[in-house]
Amino acid sequence: MTSEKSSISPVQMALFIIQTQIGVGILSLPSKVHMIAKGGGWISVLISGIVVQVLIFIMWALMKRFPNSTVYEISSQIFGNFLGKVVNFAYTGYFITVGVFVMVSFSDVLNRWMLPKTPRWAVLVLMVVAGIYLARGNIRMMARYYVLTSFLILLLILLVTYGFVDVDFTLMFPIQEAGWGNIVKASKDTFTAMYGFEMLLLIYPFVEGKSRGKLKAAFFANLFVTLSYTFTVFICLIAFNPEQLRLISEPVLYLIRRYQLYMVHRPDLIFINIWATTIIVTAASYYYAAATGLASLFGSRNHSKWVPYAVLCCFVVSLIPQTSSGMVKLSKFVDIAAYVFLHGLPLMLLVLSYLLKKKERGTA
């Protein structure tokens, strides 16, 4: 009964990953990559998309060996009970940190663009309430909601496409202005905006169908995100001159602010509100991940009881960094943590599972 209620289709999984991946990073991505890679910034996005594909493949190879377990169960199977708990604790911490990062960046953007006088806690309370409500449901309900809100992503892309009305293609040449080395280096910054594919580690066992189909869905999800990011960065690179890109922190919003849609003189406000929905959904994914982690730490099977605790953790921590230097520190920390938890640990788990010849027994 429970397994029937909590299974999702590969398409739903793809949208789950897409929704989690599209997050706060995209708004500032064009100026970030431009700083290092100049006109070739869009190539950096593509490169980091390829890296993510490789990582997805590693995760998939790991999950394929344990088709009925989440990453938490796998780690305790490989590392043993105690060490596994330590790793799971670290993973939970990582998910909470990313959740905090999403919340802080979101409230920052909202404070600067829409609600200058609203304190951060007030902005975040709504996010927390919506996040708890969403993450408490079973995974099928969440997936349903993710599919429903993915229409909004198309709307966002449409709004960005409108930026084509006033562009100068010469701005992107020469592509290799900064040198190929810098282009590759800039892909590191893009990687920050790509977080979210790690949801594969958690939702894989709930997906129906063959493992090949799941891999395809995850690949497709990442392809979609990579292409839409590349598209956005590309438009921003040809819409603004280098001087502008250096000065403005959220080129995507400025891009949309430049034009008027008939009655609407500030389309960026509409953009932000649609985007807010995808951010809340992203945060809800991390709440879900953290809550699952807490549940596995305390040996409970039901994640929904732990959602409020996980969200409360995120909420309290997200109130700490008040200055911009604190935010920079947080984002640096998240970057390092991502290397450990997205590159290092999955690979290590995979290698160890081969070396120790551990595999899930009695798979159906």
């Binding site: 829409m114 709504l126 919506a130 449901g137 349903r144 599919v147 429903l148 609407v264 003189h265 929905t277």
Partner: protein
């Protein structure tokens, strides 16, 4: 678990295990037993009628029986004495021999007559029910332009007739149940045997059987006892008074529940979009039907978002509007001493007041209310400076939009929902609206009606069913039933327009 088991057992005993009391040979004993049970009720009538020299007594309740039927079918044959056998004597359709006096009382309450004969251990139950049916009229809150103009009435038999008449199928099943410990309301479950999902039927029966209350008032009580989530503003059961709407839902594989004494059919399971479909869509041309349906769905959005958007725009983000419009708005609003939220709520409440009083008042006084509402409140309130003109426009538009939906329940839900949304808009601007819409859509995603997702076919997404959701495709393209009630048979139409293909081939 055990407790539940016992509870159910006891409840079951309460209902069916009426103490049995067999009749005796003595006529007086039997009659006095029944009279005792119904004492003191003056409409219980007793008449002595002898048969072949033996003493006999006819018992009936005057208010439930038809005098003419009694006279013609019972008294006349008895006095003429055509036959020796008592069973062949009466010309009534319903005739039964009974031994249990308690059952006799129950039959008496259903409008039957009892005939006791001295020296016989059993008695006769003879049907002479009276039924008073009001004229059939078109249901007032579900008017249509084209299509049949009849509606259900308060009599269950008559309603079943209306459904059977539209669907002469041997597969239409009607199952009776008596619910309500005191009222013993007769409830009918209708479904198509070869289409409706057996699991759904079982679930409906299970939920109906569980109802254990003294009284059952039809749409409201059944709805709240059966709904998946009562803590939701959205109705999860479709209520209709139209036989054609009921039949078309039965054809989709849904189940209809009708109760005696009430002119409505409750239809399960439903989706949000079912509330926005009207019979009119299918009687008009498909392009027009689609257009009208789009308008209706648009009204859903307008009805609960417009006031919130207005408040958010005016008090948080006026810069989104063109400059001259902003000036004009501000000029009008600056005369009003209240913040926009209070202003809108004030006017919305006045509107709700007018609406509610409009229902209760007789139609002639209703016109007066219209004048008072329209002229006095609409115009004078702005001139006094209590409310601004833009607010009046917004509230009027919302009011109109909220009545477009062809279901009273959904209209109520939509009207109710705009208040929380207005509060969030006043606190957070557009961000608050985003939040409110997210919460509503999440709630809709979580909602299920008898195992069917409430937002189907949108979430979970099923493109095939989109043909009859936002748009109304030509009927010959709707060759499959909607998937949401999980029907047993998907095909509902094959190639109705094959004549056209044949024509082309000839050329």
């Amino acid at each position: 678990m055990f407790q539940k088991f016992f509870q159910r057992k006891r409840r079951g005993g309460d209902r069916d295990g009426v103490p049995c009391r067999s009749a005796s040979h003595h006529l007086e004993k039997n009659v006095s037993y029944i009279e005792q049970a119904l004492f003191p009720s003056d409409d219980v009538k007793k008449r002595a009628l002898s048969f072949q020299g033996r003493k006999g007594i006819l018992l009936y309740i005057e208010s439930l029986t038809d005098q003419k039927v009694i006279q013609k079918n019972i008294i006349e044959p008895l006095t003429r004495n055509h036959s020796d056998e008592l069973d062949h004597l009466f010309t009534s359709v319903e005739l039964k021999r009974e031994n249990d006096l308690e059952k006799g009382i129950a039959a008496l309450l259903k409008g039957m007559c009892l005939y006791f004969l001295d020296g016989h251990k059993d008695f006769l139950v003879i049907g002479a029910k009276a039924s008073y049916v009001r004229d059939i009229s078109e249901p007032e809150n579900e008017y249509v332009v084209r299509g049949p103009h009849n509606g259900f009435v308060e009599d269950l038999t008559h309603n079943l007739y209306a459904v059977r008449k539209l669907m002469e199928s041997p597969n239409l099943r009607v199952r009776y149940m008596h619910i309500g410990r005191v009222t013993q309301t007769k409830v009918a479950i209708l479904y198509l045997q070869d289409v409706a999902n057996p699991r759904l039927i079982k679930e409906v029966e299970r939920r109906l059987k569980d109802i254990s209350a003294d009284m059952l008032m039809s749409p409201g009580f059944i709805q709240e006892f059966m709904e998946d989530k009562t803590f939701s503003p959205f109705p999860q059961i479709l209520i209709t008074e139209r036989p054609d709407r009921t039949v078309s839902n039965l054809m989709d594989g849904r189940v209809a529940i009708m109760a005696d004494g009430d002119p409505t059919a409750l239809i399960v399971p439903v989706t949000l979009f079912a509330f926005y479909q009207s019979v009119d869509d299918y009687h008009s041309r498909w392009m027009v039907g689609s257009f009208v349906r789009m308008i209706r769905l648009l009204s859903f959005l307008v009805a609960f978002q417009l006031p919130a958007f207005y408040i958010a725009t005016v008090s948080f983000h006026p810069e989104i509007l063109p400059v001259d419009l902003v000036f004009r708005l501000q000029g009008s609003i600056s005369h009003v001493p209240f913040p926009p939220l209070l202003e809108v709520i004030f006017l919305e409440l006045i509107f709700e007041l007018l609406r509610e009083s409009g229902i209760r008042l007789p139609s002639r006084v209703g016109q007066t209310i219209g004048i008072v509402g329209g002229l006095v409140i609409g115009d004078a309130i702005v001139r006094t400076g209590l409310v601004s003109y833009p607010t009046t426009i917004v509230v009027a538009l919302t009011a109109i939009a909220s009545f477009v939906v062809p279901s009273n329940e959904m209209s109520g839900a939509v009207r109710f929902l705009r208040f929380p949304l207005m509060f969030f808009a006043a606190m957070y601007g557009y961000y608050g609206i985003s939040f409110g819409l997210m919460m509503i859509s999440m709630h809709l995603c979580k909602l299920e009606s008898f195992g069917t997702p409430y937002l189907a076919p949108l979430a979970p997404l099923r493109l095939k069913d989109m043909k009859d959701t936002f748009l109304r495709f030509p009927i010959w393209t709707l060759s499959q039933r909607p998937h949401d009630p999980h029907p047993k048979r998907m095909t509902q139409e094959t190639v109705s327009r094959s004549w056209k293909r044949r024509d082309q081939r000839k050329k």
